[in-house]
Symmetry: C2
Subunit: 455 residues, 2 copies
């Protein structure tokens, strides 16, 4: 039996999966490695974090995607390093030889050297999203129990660092949770008094979009009780608040919940490739997406610094990874069929446009030709995101979840799982509404609360 | 303002929530305490464990249930003890006074004094269900990587201890995961060779159902590759298998995944009530469900040993808890309205029947009048379970998930979250199908695997 070339793909994100699928009919054996058993539709991850969707609505088993692709196998494994000379991938418990390698392990958070990872979680995995969800909904529980008005205000304040698409989408959803989702659920606090503060270092949000859309997004956020702070840098974060600097002046904002949507850093696996990298750790690939000296090794997606033939940079979005995956699959097929041309064709990114959503009936869409915001943009956002979800079931369930949330103003997935941690001391309330134990000085009468009219 | 009596309810399960809702129009203040923010529809928890449903399909925020009930407040809190003389509930950070107390904290697993909790997880919470799901789907990943055929067999063998409804439902679902869900997803293993072993100490499964239904369930399980071992006691569990005793003979069954569905133990909060308890820790309540000497304290649901007026025991099912909650709410309303009679009316359980499902188109239903199994029973099971779910959204989504799974033989929620732990060493496969590193002795050629025909 003739030996088929072995293509190893590391990473089951948009890039890796699109490369694997594009190799379906090629005379190669494909092994796709991932640390997780699921492909994640990252553009909707913030909706899991904000309880609008379930984890499995936006995640799909990688095995399921490739089940019928006979030339592909999936391995749940952790790639530690790549030995480009020996042509094998070192796993934590073995190694895999390759003829062609596609590295698509993406990026992780960057805290610019600060030790803020625990106090200000970012949003890259399902676990991240569930942790953010836990913190957000526990903050309301804590506020309900809190008797110190300053601390209560801190629990009802949410800070988001970074005004890119993820930060904008998170901030908008956090505002709507207080304004709509939880509006009637509490007795001691009024969730509609929520305050979200969004910090952005540049002079507008959505910096990669046309300026008029940044302004529209800002206005739309402000309607959702988001306080947008531009040209503001975070200088310190602790468990009671954030210190920021704007125009040379320092300010302190009290909050118990800080979410990180600022920097990204390429996955550390890139180091072992020995190829040049930029400051964010991305591999500086050749125009064909291979690395210097190793035409059999390709890097795609967020891990690569991909340039268009005109020198512009390919943005770190799903489309860039998807198109990169298809490009390298074509090159590999040409090589194994003996039809390769030299020099190899360069990768050219087709910008299909960018979109971000701020909340109910509010989104921004930017393509080469149009820059719109409002309801029409939101409908476009909706249609495109449903269309690109992997798996028909996911498409149907996401559509229905959204329709449901939209009609009822609720969110279906607002579970707190994991540790409930330490909440503020309970106001000790006697049967007659008086304080029984001196846990805190102030208290609220149950009678007063339960008979007070609520809007 | 007149002081309203304060009713404290501990536990947001079927019992606590039904009591709270039944008090909606009563002139009382209700405080419902729970350690979790969600009510859990436990009868469907095994479907989360086996990836057919999402956590939020069967869990509903307690605040959401009581949002519009003006006389009720919800507190996320951990009740440590009850001081029946001082009439207050001790929390980990305060205390709550009551005029009436309803204790409905349910039951937890009992390992009969053995140290098996870590090695054989049970199924009571969302976290439990996700842990079982993680273990089940990781077992297939491990089997795919395993080169030792004995160990591979162990990974593909699942043991369930306990042949009550939970054990039967879990075992049936585990069989179907291998037979249908994952049938085509792997390359080195054949998931349809799955083996499930169900251990039951009695001489039939579903011991509380009519014998003919136990026999039907057993036959139905065997069609799903479940090996039903009756009159068999588990004597040891370790990380490579289970030792059982049947007819005085010991046997060892190799497995890496053991699930516990055997004993339950009443929640330890009962101890502080000072009332008599049975061997399983349940409080022996008066016929009106109050405890001796304290007509203002009621215990309901799995925490109580509830007897009917004819001396028969109320089964530990959702209906028992629901009806108990309504009963005590009525008694409390009569007391506060000054219309109470002495002696108080006794609780009387109305048995609406029991049902359990084994798998696709297979269930058993037992009421006073009928004992049926098969497709009709399954349709009844389906309708009743959807009907009793809290929240319209949950009903719709569960119905759709089931319809989807039924039509496609897939399961929508087969994510592995959390730690992937240590899997077997990867077979080290060279590009030409030979072993590269001496990780293990045997290996599988990629060419051989990917070109082999699969059914």
């Amino acid at each position: 039996m003739e030996r088929r070339p072995h293509v190893v793909i590391i990473g089951g994100g948009f890039g890796g999966l699109s490369a694997a699928r594009a190799l379906a009919r090629a005379p190669v054996n494909v092994t796709l490695l991932d640390r997780r058993n699921h492909h994640l539709f990252q553009p909707l991850l913030y909706q899991v974090a904000t309880a609008a969707l379930n984890p499995s609505d936006i995640a799909y088993p990688i095995r399921g995607v490739l089940a019928t692709q006979k030339n592909a196998r999936v391995l749940l494994a952790n790639a530690l390093a790549i030995d480009v000379e020996a042509r094998h991938v070192v796993l934590d418990d073995g190694a895999l030889d390759y003829d062609f390698l596609v590295v698509a392990t993406g990026a992780t958070h960057s805290y610019f050297g600060k030790d803020w990872a625990k106090i200000a979680p970012g949003l890259k995995s399902i676990e991240d999203a569930l942790e953010i969800r836990r913190r957000v909904f526990l903050a309301y529980e804590a506020a309900e129990r809190e008797s110190d008005p300053v601390a209560q205000r801190e629990w009802l304040t949410f800070a988001v660092v970074g005004g890119g698409p993820t930060g904008v989408e998170l901030a908008g959803a956090l505002g709507e949770i207080g304004l709509h989702t939880l509006a009637h659920d509490f007795r001691s606090i009024d969730p509609t008094q929520v305050r979200v503060v969004l910090f952005e270092g540049q002079d507008r949000v959505l910096g990669t979009y046309p300026p008029k859309l940044g302004a529209a997004a800002k206005a739309s956020l402000e309607k959702r009780q988001v306080d947008v702070r531009l040209q503001t840098l975070v200088t310190a974060i602790d468990d009671r608040g954030v210190t920021v600097k704007c125009d040379g002046k320092e300010e302190r904002i009290g909050t118990r919940t800080v979410l990180w949507a600022a920097g990204v850093q390429a996955s550390p696996l890139a180091v072992s490739l020995g190829a040049p990298r930029d400051r964010a750790g991305r591999v500086e690939v050749h125009p064909d997406l291979s690395i210097p000296g190793h035409p059999e090794v390709f890097v795609i997606g967020d891990l690569a610094k991909m340039l268009n033939p005109d020198g512009t940079q390919v943005p770190g979005v799903a489309q860039g990874a998807l198109q990169g995956g298809k490009h390298v699959a074509k090159l590999i097929i040409a090589e194994v069929r003996g039809k390769a041309v030299r020099p190899r064709p360069a990768f050219r990114y087709h910008d299909k446009g960018n979109m971000a959503t701020i909340g109910r009936a509010s989104a921004v869409v930017a393509t080469k030709r149009v820059a719109i915001h409002g309801l029409v943009a939101w409908l476009m956002w909706w249609a495109v995101h449903v269309m690109f979800l992997v798996g028909f079931r996911n498409r149907v369930f996401v559509m229905l979840s959204w329709a449901w949330s939209w009609l009822t103003f609720t969110r279906g997935a607002r579970l707190i799982t994991g540790d409930i941690g330490s909440l503020p001391a309970v106001r000790t309330i006697g049967a007659d509404g008086t304080v029984l134990l001196p846990v805190t000085a102030s208290t609220v009468s149950l009678d007063a609360v339960s008979s007070a009219p609520r809007s």
